[in-house]
């Protein structure tokens, strides 16, 4: 029996009090494509960063081609023949392809050799690229090829790719997967981190499924089916009973309405396509999607934070918005808490700022939303992540009675704080607000939402309040039409 190319055994990793990986094992056979599946936050990237030497495991062993290894840094892993293509590329935009690939090499830099080297690697791998093109001028798919070539040029026999198809069009994805297949047939080993079922089933020999840091399924792709994979990825619903407790108090008055709304990003890619969404007063609409499906754009259009490229948008003058990245988009860390409260609506404010009134408002907000360690004059950066989130949620809830868009409401919150935020959202809904919530955690979504819409590949569709059906739709599997509830017609 030949040694596996890469074997991770019983890997455990903690971040603070959260257990990111719990005795996770993965064996990638030489000459195969291995798909690592799982929901957002399941621990896929963490596990692979450990394999690439970027993170150090708290327990477990790592074996490369039969030899046990202890990587201190990524360069150790590169030395052992492992290459990783990250979700966010690590290229220098101003430099050419050849220069980027030569970067990090040793000895003298000879432009002619570097170009020749790239041409060779390009023909050998079938990844077409112009060595003299400036990386900044290349489309995303070509940049990705550069990343792969960079790894191959450093002698990678094991290639780890983190969600490589997320940035590609369907045709480009097919092309890439075919190249990975060819790479494996030449004796290389590819590990594909993905949450797209189809990619895994189409190209992989073996599949491993992670859920909440644990391996829940592992085996040959031929033994797996779409439905078993969905079930293992999202788990069977044990909290479905909770939903019966929810009240439906939608009044029928449309507060947020999108009609045929499309959004094109700066790169010209259509990220949201002809979306039709109506959110009524007194309901919470949950948005389910895997990362990069267009849900970011949908939420921002609903919140009035970005403009639609085409289509009609009808929203109130101010929509409360809790963005995912609060440090960047919601708070100014160097400003005091009261100044951060003043930030809401700063664009429309005129004349003098009534600091005394704002200080009063801030004090009651701190108390009301249990923002710990906060006085109005304390800088936001001195609050813990969870308390920053409470501050933002409080500020936006107080500021917008009619409509609220929340992205990842419980990010960084502990159990009690999560409960408190959920309570606030329900209270706002009961008071007549139209609420839109996105969460990568389906359990949270089901606990909050009165109904769920799914965004997949830029298209919005309705989904029943059923864990498995939502999971299926998120992953782009065909939705059984009979599952669609009759109430949304």
């Amino acid at each position: 029996m030949t040694e596996p190319a890469l074997a991770l055994r019983e890997i455990t990793k903690r971040f603070g009090s959260t257990l990111a990986l719990d005795h996770a094992s993965l064996t990638a056979r030489s000459g195969t494509v291995h798909a690592l599946l799982g929901e957002n936050g399941a621990g896929k990237t963490t596990l692979m960063r450990i394999a690439f030497g970027m993170l150090h495991p708290d327990g477990g062993t790592l074996t490369v081609e039969g030899t046990e290894r202890h990587f201190r840094t990524a360069s150790d892993a590169i030395g052992a023949g492992i290459g990783m293509v990250h979700q966010h590329f690590t290229l220098v935009p101003a430099m050419t392809v050849a220069e980027n690939i030569a970067l990090g090499g040793r000895g003298a830099y000879r432009p002619r050799d570097a170009r020749e080297h790239v041409r060779e690697a390009s023909t050998q791998s079938g990844l077409a690229i112009d060595p003299d093109a400036r990386v900044a001028d290349l489309p995303v798919s070509a940049q990705q090829r550069v990343e792969i070539l960079k790894a191959l040029a450093r002698g990678a026999r094991i290639l780890i790719l983190d969600e490589p198809t997320a940035v590609l069009t369907p045709a480009e994805s097919r092309e890439l997967l075919a190249r990975l297949r060819a790479f494996a047939e030449q004796g290389g080993t590819a590990i594909l981190i993905t949450h797209k079922l189809r990619d895994a089933l189409d190209v992989a020999d073996d599949i491993t499924v992670l859920r909440h840091g644990r391996i829940v399924w592992s085996g040959l792709a031929t033994e797996a089916s779409e439905s078993t994979l969905v079930e293992t990825m999202v788990g069977t619903s044990d909290r479905a009973e909770r939903e019966s407790a929810r009240s439906r108090s939608a009044t029928g008055e449309a507060v947020l309405a999108l009609r045929d709304v499309s959004v094109r990003n700066e790169r010209g890619r259509v990220t949201l396509e002809r979306a039709n969404v109506v959110v009524q007063s007194g309901e919470i609409v949950g948005v389910a999607a895997v990362e990069g499906s267009g849900q970011r754009e949908l939420l921002r259009v609903l919140a009035g934070r970005i403009a639609a490229t085409t289509g009609r948008v009808a929203i109130p003058e101010y929509v409360g918005f809790v963005p995912e990245d609060r440090q960047r988009d919601a708070l100014i860390p160097d400003f005091s808490i009261v100044e951060n409260v003043a930030l809401r609506g700063a664009g429309a404010r005129r004349g003098r700022i009534a600091w005394n009134a704002l200080r009063g408002e801030t004090t009651s907000l701190i108390e009301h939303y249990d923002v710990r360690g906060g006085a109005p004059s304390v800088r936001a950066r001195h609050l813990s992540g969870g308390n920053q989130q409470k501050l933002v949620v409080g500020r936006e809830l107080e500021g917008a009675q009619s409509a609220l868009v929340v992205e990842n409401p419980s990010r960084g919150l502990d159990f009690n704080a999560t409960d408190a935020v959920h309570g606030r959202l329900h209270a706002a809904r009961d008071a007549g607000a139209a609420v839109v919530v996105y969460s990568p955690d389906l359990d949270e979504l089901l606990a909050l939402a009165d109904r769920v819409i799914v965004v997949h590949a830029g298209r919005v569709s309705d989904a029943p309040l059923d864990r498995e059906a939502i999971g299926r739709a998120m992953l782009g599997a065909t939705v059984d039409r009979a599952d669609t509830p009759p109430e949304h017609t």
């Binding site: 009035g304 934070r305 101010y318 918005f321 963005p323 960047r328 988009d329 919601a330 708070l331 100014i332 860390p333 160097d334 400003f335 100044e339 003043a342 930030l343 809401r344 609506g345 700063a346 664009g347 429309a348 404010r349 005129r350 004349g351 003098r352 700022i353 600091w355 001195h382 933002v392």
Partner: protein, 299 residues
């Protein structure tokens, strides 16, 4: 006050006034996230227009206010070029403003040898501005002129506006985190940034106009001994606080006056003052950093 002490105070205030105004210009720009290091060029643009108005309309009553206002407008326009370059073409203002400094300096050289040269064509400078365009002297027998009061009034106004007005808050918020200003505040960050360029340029341009109308009464080459650059040190030393810039400007003014006196009287090179200035800045940065870390640790 003895005559000698008065003369010293006069020298310091005269030297500090352009530093206070350009320092304020830099502080406001930096607060707004605009890295304007072209206060020197904006200063010269303001000085040029003020001199031109002062010579042309020097006998009319409106000459002084007109000279100051056009000076400010010229400075704003000069900074506005960098603003447009940034918003339209993504050109970093760090580069464009410093380039515009050279354009302004050589532009002045050309003008004082060409179109704006005094009628005898002997000296590379303009004619003297008319008396109606001169800033009044505040203390008879000294060179202390009303520009000091203008700088002080604008300093206090800027401090108040940054703290208490919505526009000032938007400027600070956009400078500190444009993403949050846009997303949480629905602030038109592009517009705020453009205004920061214009306001900063206007203050630097006004500094140039005040220098011409209050001190030199004419435009010539090397009118600015690098005020716009020292202004960066002044603003940073004040940690971008408007009131602080005025104090720092007085300090730097005093240092430079003392340096020339030492050179004259004791043959100590005037560059010593530059060494002292740099030492002061380093000390302040070190202390501020140390204090910030202590606060971090305590939190």
């Amino acid at each position: 006050m003895t005559g000698e002490a008065l003369a010293l105070v006069s020298d310091v205030l005269v030297r500090a006034t352009p530093l206070a105004l350009t320092g304020l210009a830099v502080a406001i720009a930096f607060r707004g996230g605009v890295w304007n290091i072209g206060a020197d060029g904006q200063f010269l643009a303001g000085a040029t227009l003020a001199a031109w108005i002062g010579v042309m309309l020097g006998a009319t009553h409106a000459a002084l206010p007109l000279a100051l206002l056009t000076g400010a407008a010229a400075g704003a326009a000069w900074a506005g070029i960098a603003g447009i370059l940034r918003s339209r073409f993504g050109v970093l203002e760090v580069i464009s403003t410093i380039m515009l400094n050279f354009v302004a300096a050589f532009g002045v050289s050309y003008l004082v040898r060409g179109p704006l040269q005094e009628p005898t064509h002997v000296y590379p400078q303009t004619s003297s501005i008319g008396t109606a365009a001169e800033l009044p002297v505040l203390v008879p027998g000294t060179r202390i002129h009303a520009g000091v009061l203008i700088a002080l009034a604008l300093t206090i106004a800027a401090w108040w506006a940054m703290r208490h007005t919505a526009a000032g808050f938007r400027l600070r918020a956009t400078g500190a985190n444009p993403f949050a200003a846009r997303s949480a505040g629905l602030v038109d960050a592009e517009r705020v940034t453009m205004r920061a360029f214009l306001l900063s340029g206007a203050l630097a341009g006004l500094a140039g106009a005040v220098e011409v109308c209050g001190v030199t009464y004419a435009l010539y080459e090397n009118l600015s001994p690098g005020y716009g650059y020292t202004a960066i040190a002044v603003a940073l030393l004040a940690r971008l606080n408007p009131i602080g810039t005025f104090v720092a400007a007085i300090l730097f003014g005093a240092l430079e006056v003392a340096a020339s006196a030492l050179q004259r009287e004791a043959a100590i090179p005037s560059t010593t003052a530059t060494v002292v200035e740099a030492t002061v800045i380093l000390a302040v940065i070190t202390v501020a950093d140390w204090r910030a870390r202590r606060v971090e640790r305590a939190a």
